[in-house]
Symmetry: C3
Subunit: 337 residues, 3 copies
């Protein structure tokens, strides 16, 4: 790792330096394990004691952390400041531009010299890769796929035809983008006939997609993932779903077909959203919640079926007291024979 003086880090992450400007850090570590050459951070006040006890050489902290004589980089948003510092102290390993000799690239594909196409990949006809795109080993891009500048696909990603990816996205290993949605018409004998899925998948800029995620193409129109969305591992997004900007979708969430998710919505891990629902901007869906209808903008819901989180928690507390409730009811009944 490079050694970077605090004065330089402070400028780069927009922090106020309290301490020795020439002090150099060369690593990053959590509070408990940081040593005198490491940078660590405190974003959650709950861990303030751990921060005060930490051996870290320097800390990124928020406005309220007590000045205790050590090297401090004070930020409005210490977690964001730390994120930027990590990117400087520990940059992504460099990727060599060029097409690996084992890559199978259709001659009609457009691959700029700054792009890196990894070994054992398949790049179909008419594919367009932007500047500095990285296609990880074992990935497959079907005909006509478009990938925006500086987007990186990790290993073993499948991108089906009709899919467009924006700029600066990251798609982790094992993802399937643009798979056929689950659409069947059932006949009188109970046999299910495929409804050919002919829509596309449009993924905006700065979208991150975790490992082994599946996102279906639209059935006739497109499935749409808005700019800045972050999607965790093993999430399933069905056909025709439309997601706004900067939504966060935690691991193993499932979103059924044609549902619309608003900007900055947060979907907790393993939550499930019914099809054809509208989830408003900044709605918060609790982990494991089962959403069976619309959720207004800004609302926090949880449980199954999902309701306002506060009401749900209150009812859950009383649910635990059901045995007591039945006893009290019985006592009353006994007194009114």
């Amino acid at each position: 790792m490079p050694k970077i003086p605090l004065s330089e880090l402070a400028g780069a992450i927009d922090a106020r330096l309290e301490g020795d400007p020439a002090f150099e850090v060369s690593g990053i570590a959590p509070l408990e394990r940081a040593g005198p050459d490491d940078l660590s951070f405190l974003a959650n006040p709950r861990y303030e004691a751990a921060a005060l006890a930490s051996a870290a050489g320097a800390l990124v902290v928020g406005r309220d952390f007590p000045a205790d004589g050590r090297n401090i980089l004070r930020c409005e948003n210490p977690y964001l400041g730390f994120a930027r510092a990590v990117a400087m102290l520990s940059p992504d390993p460099p990727v060599l531009a060029g097409v690996h000799p084992t890559a199978i690239v259709d001659p009609s594909a457009s691959v700029p010299p700054s792009a890196a196409v990894g070994p054992l990949t398949v790049v179909g006809s008419g594919v367009e890769l932007g500047e500095e795109v990285v296609i990880g080993a074992g990935s497959h891009l079907e005909d006509g796929v478009r990938v925006g500048a500086r987007t990186r696909l990790f290993q073993r990603v499948t991108v089906h035809r009709g899919t467009t990816l924006g700029e600066r996205c990251v798609v982790q290993s094992g993802c399937v983008l643009g798979s056929d949605g689950f659409g069947y018409a059932t006949d009188v004998d109970g046999a299910h006939h495929r409804v050919p899925q002919r829509g596309g998948l449009r993924i905006g800029n700065d979208v991150d997609i975790g490992a082994n995620v599946t996102i279906d193409r639209g059935s006739a129109g497109d499935t749409v993932i808005g700019d800045g969305c972050k999607i965790d591992n093993l999430v399933h997004i069905a056909h025709n779903v439309r997601i706004g900007r900067n939504a966060m979708i935690v691991a193993q969430v499932g979103i059924a077909g044609s549902t619309v998710i608003g900007d900055r919505a947060i979907l907790g891990g393993q939550a499930g959203i019914i099809g054809h629902a509208r989830i408003g901007d900044r709605a918060r869906i609790g982990a494991q919640a089962g959403v069976i209808g619309d959720v207004p903008a800004g609302m926090e819901v949880s449980g199954y079926p999902a309701r306002a989180h506060r009401d749900q928690m209150r009812a859950h507390a009383l649910f635990a007291r059901l045995p007591e409730l039945f006893q009290r009811l019985k006592r009353l009944e006994d007194r009114l024979p």
Copy 2:
């Protein structure tokens, strides 16, 4: 897309034409986005207003849609009619038969000239592919696997030894078929010892399997997926499960070991079924339901632990009123001191 006159479409999808037999459609689109060259459809009466307002050049509709002067293809089952029309208007892209030079095919494998074996695939010894089988790029078929005619594996599918696939199946990208089941014998020290999984996996005809699905081989006998089953993305099916014909299994469902699922059962998204259970024919398991025992044929269940859906919904409505209930009880108690 080809242009097809309505007279031809009507005959092919078994519809009654009301309108201009020579009118040609060349595309498909949802009601709101369809233009004058597009075919659209109305299957759910809830969207009748959208259908009446649609600019679609022709509509596939059911028996009750009002004749409003436009071009109509009237069907008993309009969604099925539309599915067939889409297949005509927008056929699957053609696949070139033959073995890609980068495919690694064991000389003892049986690959008819009509089959297509994609790049960077591995086809083991004794594998038997039927006519017009398609093996997608990056897929791996272990020794002895059999694949029925016209079945298509998309990219990066793993098929372990002991697996047989029927005809006309579709297996989407990232699936793992015939993985080792989760079987361990625990010793007195708490160490878990593998029980070698030696059964197979038999998949019937016309089975569709979504992206990144995992289906385990049997432990000693076989895991069985019946004809016509449709399985959505990220589903897990454990060892020794047996599923009847035409079941529908929505995304992220998990079915534990040795459970038996009846014909035409429907399992909603994220539902979980305990091991060794019997789910009857045409049973309906709600999304996210947690089934901890048998479900009789035809029954609809939901919730955790899963119970009759109607009862469950009634109890859930009262669950929300628990705060009121406790208050009312308290009031009664106060009056009977």
Copy 3:
């Protein structure tokens, strides 16, 4: 399959033989399907009738099974005895050592002659493989990955840099080990900025990992999976999680970031564990449970939010009686107007 006399099997699996020492078995089968050459077993007394009715040539049974004149191998732990017998009767197919000519192995990687590196694999610089390691077709090991002796990766496994695997592990097809965790710092405009994930992933000895599992690297420290853990298909384990020894994690479980799981804990299928929680040794988390806090050692919890399983089941039974409860309450109120 080899034919093995019962006397030899009995010695190998530490069983007491009751019957003909020279009798040979050559196959394994479940009780209902076993024939006269097959070995079967009875571990759960519920199936004793099926065992007595079975046509199996020999049975592995526990101490209480009645001697009924047939060939019996009696063990303290019959399931474990059967597991060992299966491994003898039906050994794993042999793997040919050596590097496949289509494998792309960096010259600086350390690959002993006893290791098998499959076709279409990528092995990065500085990778170290132990004796008899198997790298399945289409797998990708990034720079510096270390894999302990006799560990087997199935097909299409991605192992990211910073990952270490112990000895005798099995990693099934489609797994992603060491993916980037879900860590973002959100700015005032709602944009989420990646926190570069720089920790590693340490996997102990004798760990089994099912198909399409994702395990994230740590953010700064390591994610740790203890010796002997068994992980089923489609499980998600987030960054910085630490799991003790011999834990069992059933299919589709999700464990959020920084949670600590104790030795021999059991997590039922589809359970979800919140981040930063502590799950004690031998805790038992029910299938689909939603754990939103710590769970003490040895405790069994279920439901959402997870509580003591016994209490939860009692409350669930009363939940089903809520309609009756409201009626009884109404009756009391009517009598006290």
